[in-house]
Symmetry: C2
Subunit: 442 residues, 2 copies
């Protein structure tokens, strides 16, 4: 984090300097939300909230940073002194990491002296946009794969840098994946790590059977890649190894197929193992998968116990960025709005009230003071710069999985064509304030 | 880097353990290339080569990593001992950082004991795919914007994490941008930092003129955002500030327009400043720009001195991942090929020979031993684990800019529809080897 604390757009600092010179540092409230509509997504899984809180609690400007800023010749010494003593002193209300949310709803708001609230914009948007993007994509893949299937993040070679690969492993696990191929993520976050073998391994031996035997001898829970030469012949050779392992009191964990007509091949391979009395051998598939292709695979009668997903998860291929924004909604003069066409904001500090049941969900966005039926989504997570602890990741993931299957049917649809109907309305209090400010003019 | 050294797919390590147990550690050559075709790209700007070399030179497995790997219960103690003493001992041939390359051509190859070459696959692919992706996108924007226009990376709030934002700043500068809004990139890599002001600043004052005067008073080279209320009235107010600054012996650097009918607005705003005798005031535009929109803006008669580009640069929106692969091309038994349909590789260690002139370029992919006319693109950059120093970034960027304008006309076309014709052929030696191995069977 330390090295990335300066992930701040330059203009945040030049504006802050100007505010500082003019004593314009009264309390302000900035709200982070995603503007509707969001293409190809019926809901979002909020993530990056914990990373945002961590940043706010830790942000300092040390001497190398101050010396660098001074070298730009843009800042007053008074402002640099202010930065030297900077501690985020405000409060943050936020939804839980992993909460299902909808475009237009606040994911968090920051209430702090204006300068503090302003200069954290870039970092907060960056981590919430990125993690929410990936967690939301992962949740769609979980819905497509079904509850029981195993889902593995195989994306590190295509993610936007090694640190992004860690973020993808974290956010996809949060969104319902079972683990990642990324050893760095396993080591740093305790995520389950998953892996099989590559075609190059098979090709490094004189023949396929020899490769399979070697790998099974060397690996406690072998999964064999059977499509290097001919998938069905590969399955027969894997069956032979399964028999040899059983004779030793061991077992073959599974086979992976990475190419070809996957629905047909998986059915045939399933039959080969079932008829030979090896129903426990699992079938994994991979190869440019995403939620659409997983759904099409199942619709075509494919049978798989698990899916390895790479590129299309790791960069959220059909929607590679999320348009989260961070807008002033209140200052010393009261609630504020932005009125540019297509860029409207809703004024004031807010709360979201959710009523939900099996297959039912409705949200009302309200002013912070209002009391409405249901569950309030935002809670105070940071007070006077001090952060409430995060909940354990595995428990959060379990809640996400339960939430996904409680969602109304039409929010769980994967298809491209359908337009989402976000179940979000505005409270009487918020509608009243919007009407009042609309009358007010610039 | 240290914390990301473990960005390794688990299967690389389980396969390596198996190779280690079996003494299968003879010299191997793995080649990194991008499979054709690449949609929406007529050429690539190779980048991430320096990050790859840095990784190879630095990679170590320290005790926390070894303890973590031991805890997985997958690895032999002998292999963990091997990792404890790991140093990359091989050699790497690579194209220059910033070289224009084409799909199908090697960007680099690694020649090392098989285990060393295998376990670095994930990291090498990650950094080369990511940096090449962004540098190539940036170069297209440079071609669209023209030589003289200023181009700024405004993407940090949408990039895939704070570290990805650093990568985008670096790779877009390499690809021909002038700088970034990201202060962290300025500080860590010395990149020029660029910034203006936000709508929220304008809205924090009683009126627009007061906001402009305040910013101009506080900033040595002010660029005023003039579209918060009404762009043309904003331009008149900015002109008033320009007059006031001139009276003080200072000058207004420019104005930025972020919304509306940009071709029309920029023409009108240009006229306002020109007719008043302020031709030096520059016009910058922003707002979901990319190379297609910059081109359309110019085609519609828009006039701008510079462009601020965010989301569509930072995630390479129309192509958010690059399909670079890393394939075995030679081992102790000689040149190797992979024959799966659509996934063919070309055997053997290679060199690329380029003949080029003004508007002309032709590449021949050859075997490493062949001598052909032109300039060889791959040079030895790492020997026995020791790395040749990188060239200065600003000089590399200058060469990239010169290369872009030497490219044949049809490679500089931006349009979506046209299919690129990569100017790449195979040498007699390479064609002979391919034919020979095709006869050889599995």
């Amino acid at each position: 984090m330390q090295e990335h604390g300066m992930t701040i757009d330059l203009y945040e600092l030049t504006m802050a300097d100007s505010y500082w010179r003019r004593g314009m540092n009264g309390a302000a409230v900035f709200e982070l939300f995603v503007r509707p509509p969001v293409p190809h997504r019926r809901f979002l899984v909020a993530a990056g909230v914990e990373a945002a809180l961590e940043y706010l609690a830790q942000l300092r400007f040390k001497e190398p940073a101050l010396a660098y800023l001074r070298s730009l010749g843009l800042f007053s010494e008074g402002f640099l002194d202010y930065l030297a003593g900077f501690r985020f002193s405000g409060e943050v209300w936020a939804v839980h990491e992993g909460e299902i949310v909808f475009p237009g709803e606040p994911l968090l708001y920051v209430r702090a002296p204006r300068i503090e609230a302003q200069i954290v914009e870039t970092y907060l948007l960056n981590v919430v946009n990125f993690h929410t993007l990936i967690a939301s994509k992962a949740a769609r893949m979980r819905l497509a794969a079904g509850r029981g299937a195993s889902l593995a993040d195989f994306s590190p070679r295509r993610d936007h840098g090694p640190a992004a690969a860690l973020g993808v492993a974290y956010a996809s696990y949060l969104g319902g994946f079972d683990g990642t191929s990324n050893v760095a993520a396993g080591m740093s976050s305790g995520l389950p790590v998953i892996g099989t073998m590559a075609h190059s391994y098979v090709m490094s031996f004189a023949n396929e059977l020899e490769a399979f035997r070697a790998f099974a001898a060397d690996h406690p829970r072998p999964v064999l890649l059977i499509d290097t030469y001919d998938t069905l012949r590969g399955a027969e050779r894997a069956l032979q190894v399964a028999r040899e392992l059983r004779a030793q009191g061991r077992s073959l964990a599974g086979v992976r197929i990475d190419s070809g007509d996957l629905p047909t091949l998986t059915r045939k391979v399933r039959r080969i193992f079932d008829e030979a009395g090896f129903p426990e051998v699992q079938i994994f598939i991979s190869g440019d998968l995403d939620e659409y292709r997983i759904q099409a695979f199942q619709a075509a009668g494919g049978v798989a116990d698990g899916y390895g997903v790479g590129t299309r998860l790791g960069v959220s291929y059909d929607l590679p960025a999320l348009g989260g924004v961070y807008k002033l909604v209140e200052d010393e003069s009261g609630p504020r709005v932005k009125k540019s066409p297509g860029k409207q904001t809703l004024p004031g500090r807010k709360q979201v009230w959710r009523t939900e049941g099996e297959g039912e969900l409705a949200d009302v966005v309200a002013l912070a003071g209002e009391e409405l039926p249901g569950r309030p989504l935002l809670t105070r997570r940071l007070t006077a710069g001090r952060r409430e602890p995060a909940r354990p990741l595995a428990a959060v993931r379990e809640e996400v999985l339960q939430s996904l299957w409680r969602l109304p049917e039409d929010l769980r649809i994967i298809a491209h064509e359908e337009r989402p109907q976000y179940p979000v309305s505005l409270s009487p209090g918020l509608r009243g304030l919007v009407a009042e400010l609309e009358g007010a003019g610039d």
